[in-house]
Each structure stands twice: as structure tokens, then as C-alpha cells.
Symmetry: none
Subunit: 213 residues, 4 copies
Amino acid sequence: MARISDKTPRGGAKPGGAQGSTRRQAVREAAVTLFARQGYHATSTAEVARLAGVSEGTIFYYFGNKEGILLDLLAEVHLKYRQRMESALAKAANGMQAVLGCVDLHFKQVRQDSRLLTLLVRDLPVSPGRNDSQCRQVMREQSSLILEVLCLALRRGQEDGSVAADLPLPETGLLIRSLLIGATRLLLLKLAPEVNFEDQAAEFCRRALAPPG
Amino acid sequence: MARISDKTPRGGAKPGGAQGSTRRQAVREAAVTLFARQGYHATSTAEVARLAGVSEGTIFYYFGNKEGILLDLLAEVHLKYRQRMESALAKAANGMQAVLGCVDLHFKQVRQDSRLLTLLVRDLPVSPGRNDSQCRQVMREQSSLILEVLCLALRRGQEDGSVAADLPLPETGLLIRSLLIGATRLLLLKLAPEVNFEDQAAEFCRRALAPPG
Amino acid sequence: MARISDKTPRGGAKPGGAQGSTRRQAVREAAVTLFARQGYHATSTAEVARLAGVSEGTIFYYFGNKEGILLDLLAEVHLKYRQRMESALAKAANGMQAVLGCVDLHFKQVRQDSRLLTLLVRDLPVSPGRNDSQCRQVMREQSSLILEVLCLALRRGQEDGSVAADLPLPETGLLIRSLLIGATRLLLLKLAPEVNFEDQAAEFCRRALAPPG
Amino acid sequence: MARISDKTPRGGAKPGGAQGSTRRQAVREAAVTLFARQGYHATSTAEVARLAGVSEGTIFYYFGNKEGILLDLLAEVHLKYRQRMESALAKAANGMQAVLGCVDLHFKQVRQDSRLLTLLVRDLPVSPGRNDSQCRQVMREQSSLILEVLCLALRRGQEDGSVAADLPLPETGLLIRSLLIGATRLLLLKLAPEVNFEDQAAEFCRRALAPPG
DNA sequence: TATGAATGAGTTTTCATTCAT
DNA sequence: CATGAATGAAAACTCATTCAT
């Protein structure tokens, strides 16, 4: 009943604490693999426990319930994703480069750890219309944060002249994000023919964003 | 074992004959509503039967198993979708107009019957890596047919000069499709802020596709 | 509710009647094949109907319920079996020959139509402790008739001196019948190694029955 | 997928440890009663759970699936049966006595715990023609082990002169085993008249096996 | 006489979750 | 901290049987 969130053994210095953290991490690792491979619904907590090498009770001790694992993973994947984008953005020469850098980075992450990204384009564990789940809230929050990063880059581009000034925000940001999400879905769910179209994504965006003339 | 596909009571000409068709249709109607609202996995066949006003057995009589319902719905939505695109394509003045027409049409359909389209961006009933399900096969087949339509329009645009000639196919087609899929996901799963960015989609594509100069 | 037994279209001369008989026979034929192959419980009436090429309703029209088919088949197989034994008995030179003839005949029938005989050694559709089923009644009745035939032969043997006079009846008859039933079960259910031990059955019985000296 | 076999709670030394074993045992006890009384197919797992006084989930926790219970029971009954035969064999004065001892022992076991033995002559859970079930494999394996014991006794009898030397092996062994199986079936399924023919079984075999003269 | 659409009670099985230890 | 035995509610699916035609 009581939601057990973020149960981390306080004081990571203690040997027992470190072991707990190890167990927690093992569950996360097992879950991300299985959720990505078979989907959230098709994966049982028993399966996760087995692959993680822990008892079933351990999962509920650390994550409260099954959705808790997903919640945890979603938060992590979003965080990592966003942080990488932000650092890519910082290094970019201008706004356009920043946006295109984000696009390239996205597909690099898809290639590097498809498991994590698959979580984002696979099935959702809850109703889209209802706000009752923490899971949906996390997705929405993180989603808007990522959108902000993109819009930041776009605005910078419009200011430094590398991006067409008449493109509306956040609409344009949403469209780029749409393209990334959709492409990832086609790629990871193997719904597209065997063509490396993701390499063309940056160029496609460059044309769409470039100022006229 | 034996797959019960397309079990339709003898031709709908007779007034009584439509009865069976009615039940079948009621199940489809109930399923599309519930699958879109709660997802495929979160919807039980009992729930579908209740909403459809038929017995649970009737579902299995007509569709063989739960996936059979989804299969049926997916085939329909894909078919309708593609046919509309094809007719939009036929009416277009040039290739670029055809592509943009497809984009607009897509969002029009999303607005008109969000339930059906939601099926395409919501959860998948099976592992993405495996080909064992008819459902995945249908999605893949239909997906490639839709891609073909888009590429046809693009090629026509490249021939009549309305689309940049150096854009590679089918990569560019896949990117447009990605944008549509991703946008639909953001929209229907309410992951985007309340902004009508879909109206900008055609313009975004126009810029990306337009020949230089 | 109402038991429909022996519903045969009266007057087999009528063309309609002949057709009904055809359907009835088709069901019986299909059922004996499937029951023997998969067992009574593992065979659905739908399967029987499909193999027989009739509608499911037809089965219930002719046999009342599923057990009705088995009832019908059991009665037939027992009847045939007994009739053959009786005619073998009539032709035998003496009692011992009659018994051994029955033994040989039994295995000949097993070899000739294993499907029918399999019904007798496979699973029973009902509780052995209760008498509530017609099925069990039929089995018991027919069983005792067959036993009678065997005992008749044995008694004749004891009278003509070919069978040991001190062997008790019907015990000895039951033992021979046991041997036949058990051997059939081992054979048809493939629980015995690939040895043609049934050829030795008559010799085994001959020794057991032979008068001393 | 993963077969849960032999899930036994850690060693029965601890008083608490026997608890799990208790539940397991309760299921076995309930199952053997119901399977013998009504047959495997006619018994639902719910019925077994109810009689055992455990939840239905417990059955699947311990036995994996319904067939798992039967498997377990079959293995046990076969093992016990064979062990008793072997010890009877060891005590016998000569080969003939050993064989007849086995025969007597068989019927003694039938009388002592008819439930367990009934499992062996009642219905089979699967097609006889197919090897796909563990259940059938167990039956076949154990069956051949029991046959070996019988043949051992027969061979010993042929060597010590108490059994006719010209009787072929393993055919003769199979015939004796047939007689035992068939008799058990007649007895336990109450298909024979109320006659204690099993008392005659040893004498019947003695005559069949005795050396001439 | 024959059909087959429709059913609902029943089946096996799964699984997230609890809790005593 | 961690376990894993035990559960019960619910899931998908089956199937003998009915009945209007």
C-alpha cells in the first residue's frame, strides 16, 4: 500500500549499504534488458529477479511495485539523455550546430544503448488519458525538459542567424522531437526497411531550419 | 491451433444475416475504444465483451484470440489510411503538394478518429525482435506500403521540380514518416504541451524538401 | 436434457434417411479416429464435426451429447469383437483350440483396427466407482458377455479334456481376458519395447491351461 | 516455460521447513485421491486445491502445471512398486518363487493402495503416439525397469530349473506384466464380476512357466 | 433434418504482491 | 536487509451444448 520511493540504504559507506545498492542496480540492469526485449507487460517480476540474481521480495523492497522499476528506469534514461544533450549544446559553435548536434547525438545513443531508448518508444504501462500514474507524470516532465533544451538551441540559432527567424517555438522544437521519436520507433521496432535513414536526419533538419537565401 | 480468420456470417444481404456481422462489429468498436484508451495489455477480453454487449465466447468465436482483434483493427486502420493517402496523392497538383497533402491528411485523420490511430503508436503486443506474431507482420507490411506512397509522391516531386532532386529515397520518405509517427505519439499520448504544432508540420516539411534557390 | 438415443431416421429406404445415416456414420468414423489418436477428453466435438464434414449441431442431433458418440462406438466395438470370437469358437476343433483361437483373434483385431481397440484400453470418460453413466454400464455389460464367451470355450475344453479340469471358472477366463487387455494396453500405448510378444500369448495360455501329464 | 521440478523447501530438518513440504504433500494426497476416483481429466486443479486445503496458486508453485502433479505421482508409484518387487525377488528361494512373489506382491499392492495403482491403469494425459510429454516418458522408463525385474526373476528361474528353459525373454516377462496390468484394470475399474480372480493369478502363471514333466 | 452462431460456465495458468522469518 | 513460500484475483481461452432458423 505505502509507496516506497527511493528506498536507498542511507550511508553508502557501510558494507551492507553497498551490497543493497548492488542489488538495486542488478534489478535495474535486468529490468532494462527484459523490458526492452519483451516489453513491460510481457516481463514478470519473477523473470527480473531471476536475471538479477536476487529474490522476488528484493524487488518490492527496493521499488515498491513493478511500476516502480519502470519509473526508476524512465527517470534515469531521460536524465542521461538530457544531460548529454545539454553538454552537446554547450560545445556547439552556433544554434544550428547545437540542434543538429542533438539530432546526431540522439541517434548515437540509439545505437549505443538501444535497450534504454527502446523503453521510450515501446508500450506504455498506463492510460494516456489519466494522470493517476507517477509513470506518466515522469514521462511528461522529462519530455518537456528535453523539449526545452531543443528550444533553447533553436532560439540561440535564431539569435545568431543560423536558424530561420520566422520558425515558431516551441512548435518547431516539437517537430524535431517528433522526428526523433518516430525514427527511433521505426528503427528499434524494426518497422522500417534496412536503410540507414537516421544518417539523413540531421541534413533533413538543417534544410528545414536554414534561413532562406 | 487452427486460426479462425475472417469468420464472417454469410453475406450481409439478408436482414438476419447482418446479425452476426453486428456482433463482430460491436466487438471491434469496443476493442478500438478500450485499446486506445488503456492500451492493449491493460484491456481484458472480458472488458471488451462487456462493452460490446456480447459474451466473452463470441470474441473468440470471431477473432480466435485476443491478438486477432488487434490484427483486425490494425489491418483496417492501415488500409483506410493508405487509401486516403493514395487518393490525396492523385488529386495533388505536383509532387510537393502531394507530400504536403499526405502530411495534412495524416493529422486530419488523427483529429478525426484518434482512437484508431492511437493503436499504431501505442504498445505492441509482442517482442520487437521476433517475427513470430502475425500482428507484427501486418504492421511491417502495411508500414512499407505507406512508405511506398510517400516515396511515390517524393519521386514525382523530384521529377516535376517541386522537390529537391538531391534528396535520397527512401530515406527522405522514412524521415517524413518518422515525423508523422512521432508527432502522433506526442499528440495522442499527451506527452507534448498543449500546442497545435501539427499545423506546422507541413511547413516544416516544405522547407526541408524545397529545392534550393 | 432429454436423452436422444438411437435416433435413426426411420425407414432407411428414403433418400433423406440414407443421407442422415451417412452423416451419422461420418461422425462415428471421425470420432473413432480422433478418440483413438488423442483420447476422448482431448478431442472436441468441433474437431469431430470438422473431420466428419458435418456441422456441430449434427453431432448433438444424432448422439445427444459427446458421451453418446463414445457410447455408440463402445457398443459397436464390443459387439464386433464378441461376434468374431463367437464365430471363431464355433469353428474350433476343441475347447483349447477355441480359447487359443480367441487369443489369436484378439491380436489380429488389434493389428487390423487398432483405433477401435484403443478405445477400450485408453482413458475412461467417467468415474469407475459410480454407476451413473450409460457408458460404464455398456462397458460392463459387454465385458461380461465377452467373458462368457471365453468361459464357454474353457468349459468346453474341460469337458473334452483339452483344458485342465481343475482350473476354476470364471477366474481363469478373467485371467486370460486380463492378459489380453494388458497386452493391448502395452502394445497400443507403446509402453512395451519393440518386441512382438503378442505372438507368444497363445503359447503362454496353452501351457497355463493344458492338463497335466 | 521453465519447468519447476522438485521444488522442495530447504531440507526437512527444521520444524518450520517441513511446512512447505506439508503443502506439497497435501496436494499430492488430494490429487492421487481425485485422479484415481474421477480420472485425471475429470479432475480440475481447483478441486485438488480445495481438497488439499491450499490455494490454487500453490499447486502451480510446486508442480509447475497440472501434468506436473501426475508426473510426480507416477514417479513415486513406479519407484515404490519396483523397489518392493526387487526386495521380494531377493528373498525368493528360486526363480519361480521370485516371479510368483512378484505377482502376489502386485495384487497385494493393488489391495493396499488402490488409488496409486489406479493411476497406472486409468487414463493417460496425452496422445499415445507422441513422445512430447514428460509423463509418457516417465511411464515408459519405469515400465521398462519393472519389466527388467521380471525378466531377471525369469532368467534366474531358467537357470535354477524352476522355470521352463524354452520360454523366450523378454516376451514371457511382457506377458506376465500384461496379465498384471489387465487384471488391475479389470479390478480397479470394476469391469469384472465380483470374483477374486487375482488369487488365481500366481497359479495361472506357475502353470504357464513350469518346466514340462 | 441440419445448421452454425452464440453462449457461459469452466479450465489451466500467470503473476504482482504480501509477510513471516 | 533480504528472502521465498504462499496466495488470490484475474487472465486468456475452450468447449459442450442450445436454439432459432
